[in-house]
């Protein structure tokens, strides 16, 4: 069974809906038309570009190119993590902490899933590897971003509490224990919500896609369960690593709280 093909006219019809929304907004004086146009055009171009890249990638199925693509995705996700911080850790370290925690966990979990669990032939078959990595990165990016943001913001707001604990002879690890737990919780909330809503409130995108493409529903469901488990593990371990590295960066070798290492983004 094959998927119904979409023509440019079909997409144009859908675009008319967004144009209609723009007109209504204009008439109501909301002034959002510009963002709407830019967002829509940007989305279309990005996806078309990715389509072309994937097409070439699938045709070549070359491990080096797939690896390069994975690295580009990782670098962009790393940038997104640091761009979302209200009080980012200054300098290259801030970027590196997000990148490293995401890269290590996403790489290990994607490789594990490809080699041990799904085992396509060859294991790096891009039709599996790229979407899998994309879904894992997209979710860990959100989780790690939230966890780090929570950690640095609460540390900033709680200087006297943290220092009070240091002054009574606690180590940096002890003094940060509560804030670390809270940051990890903040990072995992979207994942927990996703798990609770799966299938009931939202039909997950990948499952929907597979069903549209003609896969038997139970097969699609099994894949979706796999993805959710991988995402949960990756987000959890990624946040753990990020919060560990982030909390360490907040202190120096004499266990002094160094909040001047945090920048500010308006």
């Amino acid at each position: 069974m094959n998927i119904e093909s979409l023509s440019a006219i079909d997409l144009g019809l859908a675009a008319l809906l967004v144009v209609a929304l723009g007109v209504v907004q204009f008439l109501m004086g909301l002034g959002l038309q510009r963002s709407l146009v830019i967002g829509t055009v940007r989305m279309t171009l990005q996806l078309l570009l990715v389509g072309l890249v994937l097409k070439a990638l699938f045709a070549s199925a070359n491990l080096a190119w797939i690896g390069l693509m994975a690295l580009v995705m990782l670098a962009l996700a790393g940038y997104e993590v640091s761009a979302r911080q209200k009080r980012p850790i200054k300098g290259w370290r801030g970027y590196l902490i997000g990148l490293l925690s995401m890269g290590v966990t996403a790489a290990i979990i994607t490789l594990l899933a490809l080699i041990v669990i799904i085992s396509p032939q060859p294991w790096y078959t891009p039709q599996y590897a790229i979407p899998l990595l994309g879904m894992i990165l997209g979710n860990t990016m959100t989780g790690i971003g939230l966890a780090l943001n929570h950690l640095t913001q609460t540390a900033w707001a709680n200087r006297s509490r943290i220092e009070a604990r240091l002054l009574l002879g606690q180590t940096a690890t002890q003094a940060m224990a509560d804030l670390r737990t809270e940051a990890l919780r903040a990072g995992l909330i979207p994942t927990l919500n996703m798990l609770a809503a799966a299938g009931l409130i939202s039909l997950p995108g990948m499952m929907t896609g597979q069903i549209l493409a003609g896969a038997p529903p139970m097969e699609a469901v099994r894949y979706q369960i796999l993805i959710m488990l991988l995402i949960t593990a990756a987000t959890g371990f990624g946040s753990l690593l990020a919060v560990h590295l982030g909390a360490r960066r907040l202190f120096d070798d004499r266990q002094r709280l160094r909040l001047e290492r945090l920048g500010q983004r308006s």
Binding site: N158, R159, S160, R161, I162, E163, A164, R165, L166, L167, L168, G169, Q170, T171, D178, D252, R254, Q255, R256, L257, R258
Partner: protein, 205 residues
Amino acid sequence: MLFEARNVAGEPGSGVRYHPVSLQLEAGEILTIYGQSGIGKSQFLRALADLTPHTGDVLLEGISQTKIRPEHWRKQVGYVPAESGWWADVVAQHFSEPPPKAWLSSLSLPPELLDASVERLSTGERQRLALLRALVLHPKVLLLDEPTANLDQRNAQKLIELVKTYAQTEQAAVIWVSHDADERALLGNRSLEIRAETTHQAHHS
């Protein structure tokens, strides 16, 4: 020599600018510190507690700060800042062990206060309890930043007595920041001014 500071000053580039301070304290001695607001008295105490990067060296019983693990250093060199931080809900959770009843009563704090919620404490109660939670660790050196600022005269007097007794019985050294010349006189005859440009060596008034 119990406690010694050698040319302690703020780290270059940190914006903390007081003239480098050197001082020596024997066991049981109390030194008061004064100086203009914003000159860096609290920053100096933070440096002594190794809570902030600084230049110079600080020695406890002849051993340099850098040779002692920071969490051990801060237990022995107890710093009580002007504004105390409270991280848990209940007062008692901030104490490694309950303070002796005698200390509580000498500061006119009822023992029930230990089970109270931190939110319900007055500023003066916080200040006195912050001193006690540092004292139960039996520090060899006590750094106090205007510990009587929120107390009435009677309670301020009691706190002074408690700290003097502690210094004598435990043979501890005390550095006490105070704006009040009368209070400094009550605390003994050693006083040191923190200055922006030139330091005065400890002098006898």
